[in-house]
Symmetry: C2
Subunit: 321 residues, 2 copies
């Protein structure tokens, strides 16, 4: 499954090319502010709302960059991936827009809303157990059988360059940011932020936010090498996957710090955002706000970009129900 692409580190020219390539297939999502949230945190927060993105998450940026960068010959065999959810439906969406097959390996425990959305976009699902080990084994079988192009959810340089277009838009939309914070799972979004900001705004601090119960990136960052858990358990289901070599490159070189929050803090921050900002977002998106509330000394008085990563939540299984 490893090829030349996966060990190529994307540069900012790749980001510019990605942005041109994907523009017809993505939204330039709005940035929302909230006086209540500013008063609560003592910071000026600018929420980049990728929950309003096509297919409901930022992952459509990276997926579209991969799909629309394929040669016709490669594209004919389709694309394949494993994903805990949003990359799966983003890749299905992008493949659908190009009219090529999309094969997805998903944990059987993934939210039904995400499985239905993948099928709605025309993707084909093969289920695996909810562990990294099972996921990779089942995927190998699907990949070998179909010959489809493997688009890794985050360790693919095409994907990282695509995700980097999000923070590029944010920098165009908000002047004078001091800090950007995003949730971290496999590190695709955070790597995209690092790629963009290290090139066009190297003074901006980059924070990553992670659930305490899936804190492998935090421990990796402190240890100086990748530590991977096989099956962490958190309500922030998009953040259960480990760092890989390409995202580790960016995280280890450009991230200022990684902060963590408990499940209760994440749920409180999620509910508060729904109540006060009137937006539907996933638990993963609440981890940054939870860590900002928990660490006021880090953010007080700063202008902070906060990436709201996606809105594909199962409304019948909200964490406060």
């Amino acid at each position: 499954m490893k090829d030349a692409l996966t060990t190529h580190i994307p540069d900012f020219d790749d980001v510019i090319a990605a942005h041109e390539r994907i523009r017809p297939y993505i939204h330039r999502t709005p940035v929302l502010t909230s006086q209540f949230m500013n008063e609560l945190t003592g910071a000026e927060l600018f929420f980049k709302c990728e929950n309003f993105q096509k297919a409901g998450a930022f992952k459509v940026r990276g997926a579209s960059n991969a799909v629309f960068g394929l040669s016709d010959e490669q594209a004919a065999k389709g694309v394949a991936t494993h994903s805990s959810g949003n990359h799966a439906l983003s890749l299905s969406y992008a493949a659908g827009r190009r009219g090529i097959p999309c094969h997805v390996v998903m944990p059987r425990t993934a939210p039904e809303a995400k499985k239905a959305a993948v099928r709605g976009y025309g993707g084909t699902i093969t289920e695996c157990e909810p562990s990294t080990t099972s996921r990779e084994a089942v995927f190998a079988e699907v990949h070998d059988r179909t010959g489809a192009d493997f688009v890794h959810p985050y360790n693919d340089p095409r994907v990282i360059a695509g995700q980097a277009t999000c923070s590029r838009e944010l920098m165009e939309q908000v002047e004078g940011l001091d800090q950007v914070i995003a949730p971290i799972g496999g590190g695709g979004m955070v790597s995209g932020c690092c790629l963009t900001l290290s090139n066009i705004a190297p003074h901006v601090e980059i924070y990553a936010a992670e659930p305490e119960q899936a804190d492998d990136a935090y421990r990796s960052f402190k240890a100086g090498h990748i530590i991977a858990d096989d099956a962490p358990n958190t309500i922030a289901d998009g953040l259960k996957v480990p760092l890989k070599e390409n995202t580790w490159h960016f995280v280890s070189n450009y991230v200022t710090d990684i902060l963590t929050a408990t499940e209760e803090e994440i749920i409180d921050a999620m509910k508060l955002t729904w109540q006060r900002m009137k937006i539907v977002m996933e638990p993963s998106c609440a981890v940054p706000l939870a860590t900002i509330i928990k660490n006021p000394e880090v953010f007080r008085g700063k202008r902070v970009g906060v990436i709201i990563t996606g809105g594909n939540v199962d409304l019948d299984k909200l964490p406060w129900m």
Copy 2:
């Protein structure tokens, strides 16, 4: 409680003056679109998102217009109202911004989230039973005791002129609208739409959407005179109040038609909007979409402005739970 103001019909100069007066205290809310919703309905829908408004609802427009139009002498005694919710917290918000007292009579059954928000803005609540009769009796006592200026939730010309600023913004934000649709309870928002559109875009059709289980406006419209129910029962708790003479003037003269939807249709449309558009909105806001889905022949091929009236919903009591 009736004075000269309540029988004055506002004109478009009042709307322009209101817009200038309230601009520092309100948001110019965004207009969202959804390819999914367009494909579902066969219409082009433009959602004016007053759920993102200050205090979480369009009612802050009318309330602010009333509060900031008071003389200092009048203002010193404060303002008072009865309301099923959003007008209560909007008036509390506006009074708080001006630094004057706000007395609110609310049904004891109103959502806890709304009561807490009224108190959070500094309003004082007196509870009544959930019927129009009880509400008006309790209010008379509060009004007599405090001498506060009565700001009716919708039958006040200052309030109607304030609500009219919403459709004025919508017309600036979207070109070529054929129709506008809004939920109808007491008729404040619909009257505001009539006031604006009859002046600046008289070719635009105005539809009102009402729950079948609180269809007094529908029956009034068909009968040609006001019919009021005392205590209708619907999940759309903002729409339980009857038309009054000032709103009847606009509704009877300028509304194209009133359409109704069942509770189930309202809940389905609400959940669909949360799922696909990722916005938190009240059941009342889903009534227009429910009627658009139910009456495709009325809206197909049209450019339709849809007023999303508010987002103050109790997240612990969602109707599909």
